[in-house]
């Protein structure tokens, strides 16, 4: 009992010694003694809170070099006047909360950003609105941070003169959630960034990708929606990426797809929905990937395989009314396609075990023809094409003859 009392006394002491600095906050406003954010930060002691009052603050290169909280719950706009970075975070444990940040400078040499986090840890960036940006939030060699509820509405027109909404470079253990990212080059870009979690974001109308991984491993993204981007998500040269329960939709265009996998090993793609994309998943050079419980609905190509893919397993997926379910450009196949539901399956299940009694061949001769001569797409669903598809399915000559679902499901996977 006495010991407990001692501890609580000690705690009280610790807290009160910090009280003066932590709970006495610094206020910045147009009529306050401290009129600029920069000045507020300068005056602040570590772990102190700088509260900014309503108004437009025309400042850029705001350096945060100590662990503080920069906060507002009013309408505060920081206008960088198209000069350079607006906020730079150079210390650990920094929180930035509640700002609208506009007019980031653009440059062909430097990646100017609204908020740059440089070699810092344990940061929290939340409730931020970004307008007229070049790059939005840029993390360079940052760790263990969170970006939450950031709303980026870009005005990107050309890929080469626009930046990414959230850009990670050599940054690990970052949590990116509940953000809305519209009309930038990439919604979220990760390069050499491992162990990040990206969830519940909406990324749409971006010029290039909704989400883009390069050389990043063990990352996980789930419950995101990628809509009407140049292409939905590109995962390139990365390992052990977890992709769960995302929606990839309306990514339309001649080189557009819901998901691009290039040189990817050991990933899981589970429970995602691909709807009305020109290509659902475009696959190139991937090994040991599990595709499970995904739904591919009304895509041009549900899965387009461009070679060098080994030991991938597709099972328990729904393929619904895609123009082409699976397209291959070679006769080789080393992947397994068993126990999926195919809306194009016309077989029967006499023994009533839930699996069709005759195998289904998801690769059609016509998809091979279209790969070769794209203009032939105009003949899709014509009687002649049905006839050649049928004869090919009887005796495969151009498509992989071992590529089939030997146990096609009779009912959709729920």
């Amino acid at each position: 009992m006495q010991k407990a009392a001692q501890y609580s006394l000690l705690l009280l002491f610790v807290f009160s010694s910090h009280f003066s600095s932590v709970f006495s906050q610094i206020e910045v406003c147009k009529t306050c003694p401290i009129k600029t954010i920069k000045e507020g930060i300068k005056q602040a002691k570590p772990h102190q809170k700088v509260t900014v009052k309503a108004g437009v603050y025309k400042e850029h290169m705001i350096l945060i070099d100590k662990p503080i909280t920069l906060f507002t719950n009013e309408k505060v706009t920081i206008d960088g006047e198209d000069k350079d970075d607006i906020i730079q975070v150079l210390a650990d444990s920094v929180t930035i909360d509640g700002f609208k940040i506009i007019n980031v400078g653009s440059s062909h040499v430097t990646d100017y950003s609204a908020i740059r986090v440089d070699r810092s840890k344990h940061f929290l960036i939340q409730n931020i609105e970004l307008r007229n940006i070049f790059f939005g939030i840029m993390l360079a060699k940052a760790k263990h941070g969170t970006i939450r509820n950031v709303n980026v509405y870009g005005d990107a027109v050309h890929q080469h003169s626009s930046g990414n909404a959230i850009h990670l470079w050599h940054s690990n253990h970052i949590l990116i959630e509940h953000n809305t990212l519209v009309k930038s080059r990439d919604g979220i870009y990760l390069e050499f960034s491992d162990d990040c979690i990206i969830s519940n974001n909406l990324s749409k109308d971006n010029l290039r990708y909704g989400l883009h991984f390069m050389f990043s491993n063990r990352d996980e993204y789930r419950n995101n929606t990628f809509e009407n981007n140049g292409a939905g998500v590109a995962v390139m040269f990365s390992k052990e990426i977890q992709m769960h329960d995302n929606h990839f939709q309306f990514n339309w265009g001649s080189a557009s797809y819901g998901l691009l996998l290039k040189e990817i090993n050991d990933a899981d793609i589970v429970g995602n929905t691909f709807e009305q994309n020109t290509i659902g998943i475009n696959v190139e050079g991937t090994n040991r990937i599990n595709y499970k419980n995904n739904t591919f609905k009304r895509n041009g190509w549900a899965i387009k395989v461009n070679g060098a893919c080994y030991e991938n397993v597709f099972t328990q997926n729904n393929f619904l009314y895609n123009s082409f379910d699976v397209s291959y450009n070679s006769k080789m196949n080393n992947n397994s396609f068993n126990e999926n539901f195919w809306s194009g399956y016309t077989g029967y299940d006499l023994d009533d075990n839930g699996f069709g009694d005759i195998p289904y061949r998801p690769v059609k001769l016509f998809s091979y023809v279209v790969n070769r001569t794209p203009n032939t797409i105009i003949l899709m669903r014509s009687l002649f094409v049905d006839i050649i598809d049928f004869s090919e399915s009887v005796s495969p000559a151009f498509t992989p003859d071992n590529l089939m679902d030997e146990r096609p499901l009779m009912k959709q996977v729920k």
Binding site: S254, P374, N375
Partner: protein, 260 residues
């Protein structure tokens, strides 16, 4: 002309064949829905029926009616009625009764299965419109063939050949030429070749609804202009209309010159 249309129409409505045709579509509609219980999938299957079977039935029915109603035609020719009215009236009688069978036969099952609450209603309406237009086109073509051929057997053979050509052979040749000349820019050729076959045209009209995502996968500028916008829909419909008007005009022209 309206009187002729009326009599031809009544004549057909009372004939066994109209019922067979109607019954066929009714059964087809119900079976499709019963097997799939899914409107969207049924619409896809129906597309195949519409672009293959409807032209076939239109052609055969058209030729058959023309030859079978020769007596009626001769009777009419002695009456103070314009020739064009006689033939166009008869043509419309056949075409409209076929269209009616199609719309009722397919529409009824789908309406009973809750079409009006379904999002497939637009796709379905487009399907029916296309089917109706194909019926009009192929009946008109059949009338042309029959007008040029007194010999029934010849007329029937040409009609079947026409169907076979437009439904299958044309696409085969089309596909071959696309593959053979794949190194050339073929956008224009592709569009033009499509326009010259009403079956292809209708198929594409329906594809614009069903497979738009795949169609947009192509780089050709003309392709995207055509498919990406409503211009595609309207120009395809316009071309189909032209496919009706031209043969009908020729029926009128030929009928004016023909001896009976």
């Amino acid at each position: 002309m309206l009187k002729i249309l009326k009599y031809s129409f009544y004549d057909l409505i009372r004939s066994r064949w109209s019922y067979v045709y109607l019954l066929f579509y009714l059964i087809l509609g119900f079976v499709l829905l019963f097997l799939n219980n899914d409107l969207s999938k049924a619409v896809i299957t129906l597309m195949n029926v519409i672009i293959i079977l409807v032209p076939l039935i239109g052609t055969i029915f058209g030729v058959m009616y023309y030859y079978n109603s020769k007596e009626f035609t001769e009777l009419l020719l002695a009456q103070p009625i314009k020739r064009s009215s006689i033939f166009i009236g008869q043509y419309l009688g056949v075409a409209l009764s076929l269209v009616m069978s199609l719309v009722i036969g397919l529409g009824l099952p789908f309406v009973l299965y809750g079409l009006f609450e379904s999002s497939a209603i637009w796709d379905f309406s487009l399907l029916l419109i296309t089917g109706a237009m194909l019926t009009m086109i192929f009946t008109a073509l059949a009338f042309n063939i029959a007008l040029y051929n007194e010999n029934k057997i010849k007329g029937f053979s040409y009609a079947i050949l026409l169907w076979l050509f437009l439904a299958v052979i044309y696409d085969g040749l089309f596909l071959l030429s696309l593959i053979i000349f794949e190194t050339y820019p073929l956008d224009k050729f592709t569009l033009i070749a499509t326009v010259f076959n009403p079956i292809d045209l209708s198929r594409i009209l329906i594809l614009l609804k069903l497979d738009i995502s795949a169609l947009l996968g192509y780089t050709g500028a003309i392709f995207n202009q055509f498919f990406g916008t409503s211009i595609g829909l309207f120009s395809a419909l316009g071309m189909l209309l032209l496919w009706i008007i031209l043969p009908v005009w020729n029926i009128k022209r030929k009928a004016q010159k023909k001896d009976f």
